[in-house]
C-alpha cells in the first residue's frame, strides 16, 4: 500500500510542479491541497491523464474549520476544585441562534473531494479552500464528474459554499424555505425554528425553538503521549 502512495505522490509532484500543491500521505491514500485557481485544471488532469485516471469522484463535502482545535476542558494544569477546569466556550451545542458568534478565520471553509481510480486501484483526497473574502465561491466539478451534482448541492445547502458553473444549485437536504447553513460551526445544534401544529390556525406553523442548548460531555483535547511517541518514531525512522 505505502508503495502506491509514494508513487502517486511522486507522479503528482512531478506533474503539477508549477502549481503550488501540498501533498501528504494518509492512511487510505494520498491527500492533496490544491489552490483555488487550479482546482478545475488539476481535477481535469487527474481524470484524463493516463498516469492518474481517477474515473470516479465518490464524494464532495464541505468543511468548516471554525473552532478547530478549541477545547472546552483544561487539560494542562491540575486543579484541586473539580469543575474549575471547564473553559468558557462556544463549541457545538453550547449556544442558541441569538448567541451565535459571527467571526471569521482565515481558510475557514474547504471543499474536499474523494477520488478513486478503478484502473490503478488508488484513492486520492483533494481539498481546496474557499476564498476568505467576498463570495464563498469554488468552481464546480460537475463538468468533470457529473455524479458530484448532488454532493455539491449538499455542500451548498449545509455550508453555503457556492459552486460556480453548477447547473442546478438548489438546497437539497434542508426544509423548503430553510434559513441558514446548518453544518456551519456557528449554527446552533438545536437549530433555530421548530415545527408545531397550531390548533387555532388549523395548520402547521414555525416558531422559535423552545429547547435549551446543552452539552453532556465537554470537548477535550489530549495530546496523548503514546501517539506523540509513535509519531516521533515515524518521523525519525
Amino acid at each position: 500500500m505505502s508503495n502506491f502512495k509514494y508513487k502517486l505522490s511522486k507522479e503528482m509532484s512531478e506533474k503539477f510542479a508549477d502549481i503550488n500543491i501540498e501533498l501528504s500521505e494518509t492512511v487510505h491514500g494520498v491527500a492533496c491541497t490544491v489552490p483555488l485557481e487550479s482546482w478545475l485544471e488539476v481535477s481535469k488532469t487527474l481524470r484524463d491523464d493516463d498516469a492518474f485516471q481517477f474515473e470516479q469522484c465518490l464524494d464532495v463535502c464541505g468543511v468548516d474549520y471554525l473552532t478547530y482545535g478549541e477545547a472546552e476542558w483544561q487539560t494542562d494544569d491540575v486543579s484541586s476544585t473539580g469543575f474549575s477546569r471547564g473553559v468558557k466556550s462556544n463549541g457545538p451545542g453550547r449556544f442558541s441562534w441569538s448567541e451565535r458568534r459571527e467571526e471569521s478565520i482565515p481558510n475557514r471553509f474547504a471543499v474536499v473531494a474523494q477520488l478513486l481510480s478503478l484502473k490503478y486501484n488508488r484513492r486520492l483526497t483533494i481539498k481546496c479552500f474557499a476564498p476568505d473574502e467576498g463570495m464563498l465561491m469554488v468552481p464546480s466539478l460537475v463538468e468533470i464528474w457529473p455524479g458530484v451534482n448532488w454532493f455539491e448541492r449538499e455542500a451548498f445547502d449545509l455550508y453555503g459554499i457556492i459552486f460556480k458553473g453548477h447547473p442546478d444549485l438548489r438546497r437539497i437536504l434542508t426544509d423548503y424555505g430553510f434559513i441558514g447553513h446548518p453544518f456551519r460551526k456557528d449554527f446552533p445544534l438545536i437549530g433555530n425554528v421548530e415545527v408545531i401544529y397550531d390548533e387555532d390556525k388549523g395548520r402547521v406553523v414555525y416558531q422559535p425553538v423552545s429547547i435549551e442548548p446543552r452539552v453532556l460531555v465537554p470537548k477535550t483535547i489530549r495530546r496523548d503521549s503514546r501517539y506523540v511517541e509513535s509519531m516521533n518514531e515515524q518521523e525519525n525512522s
Binding site: 464524494d59 476542558w73 451545542g93 437536504l173 446548518p182 460531555v217 483535547i221 496523548d224 501517539y227
Partner: protein, 417 residues
C-alpha cells in the same frame, strides 16, 4: 378544449413504492417521463452534526439508523475510520466476526430489496417468503447484540462481545406448541454459530425458490429487461458503486480490491452483469446472496475452531471487563474515563470505506486531537445512485419509474442522513 402537452405529477412522499419518503416531481408527456426531479431530505436528521457534538463511541448507534436495513456495514465503516486514525487493529477473531456479520447484513439487505422490489412490480408472494428468511437474520442480530435491528455491535478495536454459546429458544405459548414449537426450535439447540450454519446450509435452497418465482417469469422480465440501462461509462461518471456498478459490467468490489476485515482469507466470487439493466442488477444481487452464504459458512468454520479475544487489549480505547473494574483501581479509572470523556483520537484526516450491500459506504473523518470528531462526512451509496434518477428514467414509462426506484435499492436513512 385546448390540448395539454406536458404535465407535472407529484409522486410521493407518501407512496408505497417511494421506499420511504422520496418525493418525485415528474414531468410527463402522456405516460412518458420527460424529466424527474427527486426531492430528498425529508428524513434529514443531521447525523453528521450530531456526531460532531458527541464522543466517538456514542455515535455508533447513529450509524445503524443511516441505512436501516444494513446496519452493521455502516458501523463497520465508522469504526474502521476511528481505528485507522488511532492506528489500532481489531483481533483476528473480531475481524472474522465482522466479516460474517457483514455478510449476514448483505443477505438481510438483499432480502429486503428483493421483497420490496418484487412487491413494487407485482410479485406479492415473494415479499412474504423473503421476510420469512429475513427473520432468521434478525434473530442472529438479536442473539449477538440484544437488538433485532439497531445493533451497535461493532466497536473501535473489535466487537462488543463474543458470540453467545446458546441460541435463545422459543418458549411454549398458546400459538407455538407441540410440533410447531419443535419446528421453531429446530436450529436453536446449539450455539449461535450452529444456528447460522443451519441457516447458511438451508438458504441456497430458498434462493432457488425465489428464482423459481422470478427468473423466467414473463411479467418479471417484461418489467425489468431493458429498463434503466446504464452503460459502464455512465455508471463510473455518475459515481455508482456496488451492484449498480457491477450490474453494468464493471468488476469492482472493495472486498476484493481494497480488502478489509477477513475478506482476503475467505473464498468467494464477484458476480458481474452484462447489459446494465434492472434484470442484470437483479441477477447480480441474487448471486451475491449465494456468495454471501459461502463466506458465512467459511467464517462459521473458522470461528468454531479458533477461540480468542474479540477486543483489543488497550484500555485507552476499549473498556476493561466488568469484574476487573470491581477489584482493580486502574481498571476502574479507565472505565470511568472511557464512559465519561471517551478517548481522544490523534489529529488527522481519513476516508474509510466498506463494500456495503448498496455500494461503497464511506466515512470521511477529520479529528483535531479531541474526544469528538471535528468533521464527519458520510458517503452514502444511495445518494449518488438517486442523483442519477433523472438520467435513468428519462424516456421511460411512468410504471418504469417504480422499477428503477426498486433497482436502486434506496433507503432514505442513508440518503438524507
Amino acid at each position: 378544449m385546448s390540448e395539454i402537452k406536458n404535465y407535472t405529477m407529484n409522486f410521493g412522499p407518501q407512496h408505497p413504492a417511494a421506499h420511504g419518503v422520496l418525493r418525485l416531481i415528474l414531468e410527463l408527456d402522456g405516460e412518458v417521463v420527460e424529466h424527474a426531479d427527486p426531492h430528498v431530505g425529508l428524513l434529514h436528521r443531521g447525523t453528521e452534526k450530531l456526531a460532531e457534538s458527541k464522543p466517538f463511541n456514542q455515535s455508533i448507534g447513529y450509524m445503524d439508523r443511516l441505512d436501516y436495513v444494513s446496519m452493521m456495514c455502516n458501523e463497520h465503516a465508522y469504526v474502521r475510520a476511528i481505528e485507522q486514525l488511532l492506528g489500532i487493529e481489531a483481533p483476528i477473531r473480531a475481524q472474522y466476526i465482522r466479516t460474517m456479520f457483514d455478510e449476514i447484513t448483505r443477505v438481510r439487505n438483499h432480502l429486503m430489496w428483493i421483497g420490496t422490489h418484487g412487491l413494487d412490480l407485482g410479485a406479492m408472494a415473494l415479499f412474504l417468503y423473503a421476510f420469512r428468511e429475513r427473520e432468521h437474520c434478525m434473530d442472529m442480530y438479536e442473539a449477538v447484540s440484544g437488538a433485532r435491528m439497531h445493533a451497535t455491535y461493532y466497536r473501535p478495536g473489535g466487537v462488543y462481545r463474543d458470540l453467545p454459546d446458546h441460541m435463545p429458544q422459543y418458549a411454549e405459548s398458546k400459538w407455538t406448541k407441540g410440533k410447531n414449537l419443535a419446528y421453531a426450535n429446530e436450529w436453536r439447540n446449539g450455539s449461535l454459530l450452529d444456528f447460522i450454519e443451519a441457516f447458511a446450509d438451508d438458504f441456497p435452497n430458498k434462493i432457488g425458490e425465489y428464482r423459481t418465482l422470478l427468473q423466467d417469469n414473463r411479467i418479471w422480465k417484461q418489467r425489468t429487461v431493458g429498463i434503466g440501462v446504464v452503460s459502464p461509462e455512465e455508471a463510473k461518471a455518475w459515481g455508482f458503486t456496488g451492484p449498480m456498478l457491477r450490474g453494468s459490467g464493471v468488476a469492482w468490489d472493495l472486498r476484493k480490491k481494497q480488502t478489509y476485515a477477513a475478506y482476503d482469507k475467505v473464498d468467494f466470487d464477484i458476480p458481474v452483469g452484462v447489459n446494465g439493466d434492472c434484470y442484470d442488477r437483479y441477477l447480480v444481487r441474487m448471486e451475491e446472496m449465494v456468495q454471501s452464504t459461502r463466506i458465512i459458512k467459511q467464517c462459521v468454520q473458522w470461528l468454531k475452531n479458533n477461540p480468542g479475544p474479540v477486543m483489543v487489549d488497550e484500555y485507552k480505547v476499549a473498556p476493561p471487563d466488568r469484574e476487573m473494574m470491581k477489584e482493580d483501581m486502574e481498571s476502574m479509572i479507565h472505565h470511568f474515563k472511557l464512559f465519561t470523556e471517551g478517548y481522544t483520537v490523534p489529529a488527522g484526516e481519513v476516508y474509510a470505506a466498506v463494500e456495503a450491500p448498496k455500494g461503497e459506504f464511506g466515512v470521511f473523518m477529520i479529528s483535531d486531537d479531541s474526544n469528538k470528531p471535528f468533521r464527519m462526512k458520510i458517503r452514502a451509496p444511495g445518494f449518488a445512485h438517486l442523483s442519477a434518477m433523472n438520467d435513468m428514467v428519462k424516456g421511460h414509462m411512468l410504471a418504469d419509474v417504480v422499477a428503477v426506484i426498486g433497482t436502486m435499492d434506496i433507503v432514505f436513512g442513508e440518503i438524507d442522513r
